[in-house]
């Protein structure tokens, strides 16, 4: 076919940028991960420490707790977004007056900066100012205080993430749904399949690549959430919403434990890549299967 050199030429501007601003910092983190380096320590200089940082990680309850919290957060947030997003996308498949208008409103949270989303939800939930604690207490007698109750804080971060990112899922699934072929559905109706059977045996398999791709992009971003949670709860109460991004930030900046923080982010990055690679392998396997047919 055409010369591969042209292909590489087209990739030329992209790869150096990713190399300089992505790979070099990564390599740097990789090196620091094996060093003892803490500006507040007795000896603030860098020293080679073998795999000491990684050994510490395995026994670090705070790190493991934060990792577990992050996974819990990503799981609940992404699952709710996919279910809700699918449901809303199906509703957008129907024609009704004002559809474009409602779709625009539904897309609105997507363009708000995470830091502003955090600020918005903080304004809603901060005791003494926000309407949520006030009215929940007044109408239902329910004490809502996310700076005090662990479960409420966790739940609020999930709800905030769902509010912010469900529109993205709705839009991607809507794009996928509108490009599905019509014949299998018509055939199934002729054969007398009920709605659940159509969903389970036709819609879901056909949508699987789109759903996987959406889960992929959402999970990746949920695992590295920082701004909005930092603005909403600051990681608290205690460490109840200190997700891994915030935890690493705390270790690296206020505590200046650079070596340990680097080791921590290497492990986190590794886990994220493994999880996403599994999803991606699922996607590619499907694609290749289809091509073979």
């Amino acid at each position: 076919m055409r010369a591969n050199s042209v292909g590489w030429l087209l990739l030329t501007p992209t790869l150096p940028i990713l190399f300089v601003f992505g790979v070099i910092p990564f390599l740097y983190v990789l090196v620091i991960g094996f060093m003892n380096w803490n500006s507040f320590a007795a000896n603030p200089d860098m020293q080679f420490a073998w795999a000491e940082n990684f050994r510490r990680l395995v026994f670090d309850d705070q790190f493991l707790y934060s990792l577990w919290l992050t996974l819990k957060f990503a799981f609940f947030a992404v699952l709710s977004e996919i279910v809700l997003g699918y449901f809303l996308a199906q509703l957008f498949m129907k024609d009704f007056p004002g559809k474009g208008f409602f779709r625009t409103i539904h897309t609105l949270p997507l363009v708000i900066a995470p830091i502003a989303v955090g600020a918005t939800w903080r304004l809603l939930t901060v005791p003494g100012l926000g309407p949520l604690p006030y009215y929940l207490n007044r109408w239902l007698g329910y004490e809502f205080n996310i700076s005090r109750y662990i479960d409420q804080a966790f739940f609020t971060t999930v709800v905030m993430d769902v509010w912010h990112w469900t529109p993205l899922v709705t839009l991607t699934l809507l794009a996928a749904l509108s490009s599905l072929p019509k014949e299998p559905f018509e055939q199934a109706q002729i054969d007398g399949a009920n709605r659940f059977q159509i969903f389970w045996h036709i819609t879901l398999p056909l949508l699987k690549p789109a759903i996987l791709a959406t889960v992929f992009i959402r999970m990746m971003d949920a695992l590295r959430t920082v701004d909005e949670v930092w603005m909403l709860t600051g990681g608290g109460p205690g460490a109840a919403t200190r997700y891994i991004g915030l935890h690493i930030w705390r270790v690296v900046f206020p505590k200046t434990d650079y070596g340990y923080g680097s080791a921590m982010s290497l492990i986190t990055l590794y886990l994220t890549i493994v999880m996403c690679w599994m999803l991606y392998a699922g996607l590619v396997a499907r694609r290749d299967l289809k091509r073979a047919e």
């Binding site: 590489w8 509010w163 839009l171 996928a176 915030l246 923080g261 994220t272």
Partner: protein, 284 residues
């Protein structure tokens, strides 16, 4: 006939009711932010009320008159726009190469590009800070606190996203079209601009807009890698939260103002947004 019409009308009514309710849920936090921005300190505390009895304009007038706010806003517009243009152009070229050429290891390369987006941003702050202040220095010129530094850096998370989104779009354009153009004697550049570009327009528009939004919204890197000259509006927003207390009204007003450009961009995108967002998964 009549019955069918009625059935359809009631279904529409159901949809409209449902979406009205759903829109209220979507809008409630935004409306509350607006309400806070339109109230004075005295009006804010006490019982929270959704009613804006008298519009307190000072939060807006003092924000708009603030020279720091104006500079932040200008910086954000420049950084986001330049980054979106750069990313979309580079991603189009890269995606075309990944889609059409039999490059060895290209699936791995494709996946590798996206791993650049997975890293927890917090820890890359440190190496980037050192690179920007000490390594990428020519004579007196540093990347630290420059707009160009942010524009280039944002490529790290925006390029992977753009390549990932465009992959489906480019794969969806039949190869036969470019083959035909090549047979007619076109070169790669002409194929890209005359065949691919027009067909990929909706996808490119969405990619450009979303990368713009991501760049506009970025906070952590901007907060660390700038100090005075290149600070963006998101860092300005965070500056309202201080140890001594938060000026909620000013913060809400600033947040509302940062929404305006994003809304304009969203309005432009509405037409294309569904057609473009296929994430490489649908058209095969």
């Amino acid at each position: 006939m009549m019955r069918r019409f009625r059935k359809r009308a009631s279904a529409s009514l159901g949809s409209i009711l449902f979406w009205t309710l759903s829109s209220l849920i979507t809008l409630l936090p935004i409306y509350w932010m607006f309400a806070v921005s339109a109230k004075s300190r005295v009006q804010l505390f006490g019982s929270p009320s959704f009613v804006i009895s008298s519009f307190f304009t000072e939060n807006y007038t003092s924000t708009l008159a603030d020279s720091a706010f104006q500079r932040y806003m200008f910086n954000s517009v420049v950084v986001a726009t330049a980054n979106a243009l750069l990313v979309t152009t580079l991603a189009l070229l890269a995606t075309y190469a990944l889609s059409r050429y039999k490059l060895p290891g290209k699936e791995n390369l494709f996946f590798w590009t996206i791993t650049n987006r997975m890293a927890p941003p917090a820890v890359f702050l440190l190496p980037l800070f050192l690179l920007y202040t000490q390594v990428f220095v020519v004579a007196d010129v540093k990347l630290f606190d420059t707009k160009i530094g942010l524009i280039l850096l944002y490529c790290v998370f925006n390029l992977p996203f753009a390549i990932w989104t465009l992959r489906g779009v480019i794969d969806g354009i039949p190869k036969e079209l470019d083959e035909a153009a090549f047979v007619d004697g076109a070169n790669t550049w002409q194929v890209l601009t005359k065949v691919i570009l027009p067909l990929a327009k909706p996808g490119l528009a969405v990619t450009g807009i979303l990368t713009w939004v991501f760049a506009w919204n970025e906070y952590l890197f901007a907060a660390t890698l700038t100090s005075v000259h290149a600070r963006t509006i998101t860092t300005g927003l965070a500056e309202f939260v201080t140890v001594t207390g938060t000026n909620w009204g000013r913060m809400a007003a600033t947040a509302m103002l940062t929404l305006v450009p994003a809304l304009l961009v969203l309005g432009l995108a509405q037409r294309h947004i569904v057609a473009g967002l296929t994430f490489g998964a649908v058209k095969e």
